[in-house]
């Protein structure tokens, strides 16, 4: 019961469309009742009202008992923290309680076919019509749009202003007329991503976060919450050392020293890189816990976390050798097929959520102060 997570799809994401095994639903309900799905959020919205230190104790105790998180998702990690920071009282009262109870699942409407790395170039239009915005356009790379109930979306409300200054941050019900969703298949064979088409979708003006044409500041504030989360997501969830287990199975076939010195060195390199990243994450958390602002080191998590994960996946293919080439059918074990798909999927890590090159640009500009 409540076994630790093995994959992200295995988690409880909540939402109107979710179908749960009974133990998962029960675990969600008992935790949500205490507000412990969102331990640090204020009690008045149904959160746990715990301090950061108390929440850390809770998370450590849960980890010790091998308990799974009762609920995960973009509501808890992205839009919720943004609303707490920037949202009106009304928006907080409407949206936070259903997130905490796992009733509403959120997705993020940012990228568009013509606005990838250049996100501020987005073209989805929203025009005021009385008390409603009418939205037309297309979003792409919307994770889990097919399973989500609401979307936080960036739209263009002033096409004549400088591109960052004509954007508004809206909250949109995915059941609104005019919303249609089409899943995208990736090189790994499946994917959480969708295209989202918006055809005269009406969204009440009351669902603006921040101010009209002030959406870019909201997007940037949210990015801060996203960045720390990403480094954590890409951490390998398997207990022990999966690289070592794989090497012993495919190369040494014993508990002794890994026979291939090149593979041994590559494993060590990846593990040491990960150890340095973990220590840097910890240093950042400890800095915040000590009451300091997070230092500029946080900007490296997305870049280095994804690059390290990708190198680990590459290495796993190298270790498994011919057994890493299977797509399906006989002669390949399930975990070998998963390894291959995970490698292919990992190639997207340095693209999604801001490419590695964009991250390096951000570091060069904001941290190192290099000129434009």
């Amino acid at each position: 019961m409540y076994a630790p997570l093995r994959t992200t799809d295995d988690a409880c994401w909540g939402g109107r469309k979710a179908v749960y095994p009974p133990d998962v639903k029960h675990w969600l309900d008992v935790m949500a009742e205490r507000g412990w799905t969102a331990p640090t959020w204020p009690r008045q919205y149904g959160g746990g009202g715990l301090s950061k230190a108390e929440a850390q104790v809770l998370s450590q105790e849960m980890a010790k008992l091998g308990l799974r998180p009762p609920l995960v998702g973009f509501g808890l990690t992205m839009i919720g923290p943004l609303l707490l920071q920037e949202g009106s009282e009304e928006l907080k009262r409407i949206h936070l309680p259903p997130i905490i109870r796992g009733e509403i699942r959120w997705c993020q409407g940012y990228s568009e076919p013509g606005a990838g790395s250049d996100l501020a170039g987005l073209q989805t239009r929203a025009v005021l019509d009385g008390d409603d915005f009418i939205i037309n356009g297309q979003k792409i790379w919307t994770s889990y749009a097919d399973k989500a109930d609401w979307m936080f979306i960036l739209v263009r409300t002033d096409p004549d202003a400088r591109k960052q200054e004509g954007i508004t941050f809206l909250l949109m019900d995915m059941d609104s007329p005019g919303v249609s969703v089409k899943p995208i298949r990736l090189i790994s064979g499946s994917s959480p991503f969708c295209e989202t088409f918006l055809d005269n979708v009406r969204v009440p003006r009351s669902q603006v976060v921040g101010r009209i044409n002030g959406g870019w500041a909201m997007a940037k504030a949210l990015l801060g919450h996203e960045r720390t989360m990403i480094a954590d997501i890409f951490k390998d969830r398997q207990p022990g050392n999966p690289l070592l287990r794989l090497a012993r199975r495919h190369i040494a076939d014993s508990e002794s020293r890994i026979a291939d010195p090149t593979i041994r060195d590559r494993i060590t390199q990846v593990d040491m890189d990960q150890a340095c990243l973990d220590l840097t994450l910890k240093r950042s958390q400890d800095t915040m816990k000590a009451g300091h602002k997070p230092g500029p080191e946080t900007s490296i998590f997305k870049y280095y976390g994804t690059e390290t994960n990708m190198r680990r996946r590459e290495l796993m293919v190298s270790i498994a050798g011919p057994q890493a080439l299977g797509w399906d059918g006989p002669g390949f074990e399930d975990d070998e097929l998963t390894l291959t798909r995970d490698w292919l999927r990992s190639r997207g890590n340095s693209i999604e959520g801001g490419t590695s090159e964009i991250q390096l640009n951000i570091i060069a500009k904001r941290v190192l102060g290099l000129p434009d």
Binding site: D273, L277, I363, K365
Partner: protein, 380 residues
Amino acid sequence: MDLVLTEEQELLQQTAREFVTKNSSLRRIRAVRDSHARLGYSRELYSEMAKLGWLGIVFAEEYGGMALGYTDLMVVLEELGRGLMPEPLLSAVLLGGMTIASAGSATQRAALLPPLINGELRVTLAHQEPRGRYNPLHVETRAERSGDGWRLHGTKTQVLDGAGADRLIIPARTGGDVADRAGITLFLVDTQAAGLSIERQWRIDSRNVALVRIEDVYAREADVLGTVGAGAPPLAAAVDRATIGLCAEMLGSMTAALEMTLEYLKTRKQFGVLIGTFQALKHRAAKMYIETELARSAVLAAHKALDEGRPDVPQLAALAKARCSDAFVLIGNEAVQMHGGIGMTDEHDVGFFIKRARAAEITFGDAPYHRNRFADLHGY
């Protein structure tokens, strides 16, 4: 283990930074190099550091120390590294003093530590052997019984701050084979002893290192540090501590090299624009910065592990040294490349960093050595 500095440590860091800025510049480092002086550092500045209490940071108060921790020492070493300062703080404290403090008898501690902490007595460890490469337990130097004492024979090379030292701690073999753990004994030898010759060596980084020839040098029983035949644990611990301290110094040096390079990218123009606007250079500069941040975390964690007396000190020493070696060499190389032609000239200071990077990389073991060690310690 919280990976943050205390307020006191931040203050100490500030004091150290001001001291380095006021008393040492790269112009001084250049002058010391060009003088070809045997000592290769300033005794006056070293005494100043002793007066500030820096030599006593990690030692108990009964010897005149400050009874603080390794993390406090780290912030000082990092600042010395920023200025590429050659004064022998690291060797005196981590190779000399702490070996005496951990392996020595009460008599040895009481006699040697107070003058070491006030800067009068300089002690270092002579462990590097010509064929030893990176293994501190590779000891060919022999010690044979002679009456009520010992006679030592062997050669040690690139002994850190060996020229001008008053005492050497010499690991010698009293039993076992060349690379055996058992059979190593540590001897405290006066540098004036008959049969001992200390010759200054000249390296790319112009730091004080010495070739030590030991030809029938007599040591009394009272000069044995610790137990006969059981010198390997304190020797390995000393090298681990010094490795971690060197990482702090390297962290400061690589940060200074990065800052110097960033300054150049922000002032040098080509094609009518600042070269810092070029994305090819921006991305490389960002990667250099990332390396310094990852290195900083590993170095801080290793010092905290020393402070807490944790059993994973060797693992963290390997983690930090592998990272700092790769990072400092990368930053040294990139710093010269980004400076272009001027970076290749001796006239420009950036050359000091690329040279120091290689010397520090190789001292106490390079990255492949420490990765292999990390893998061994983890049973890969």
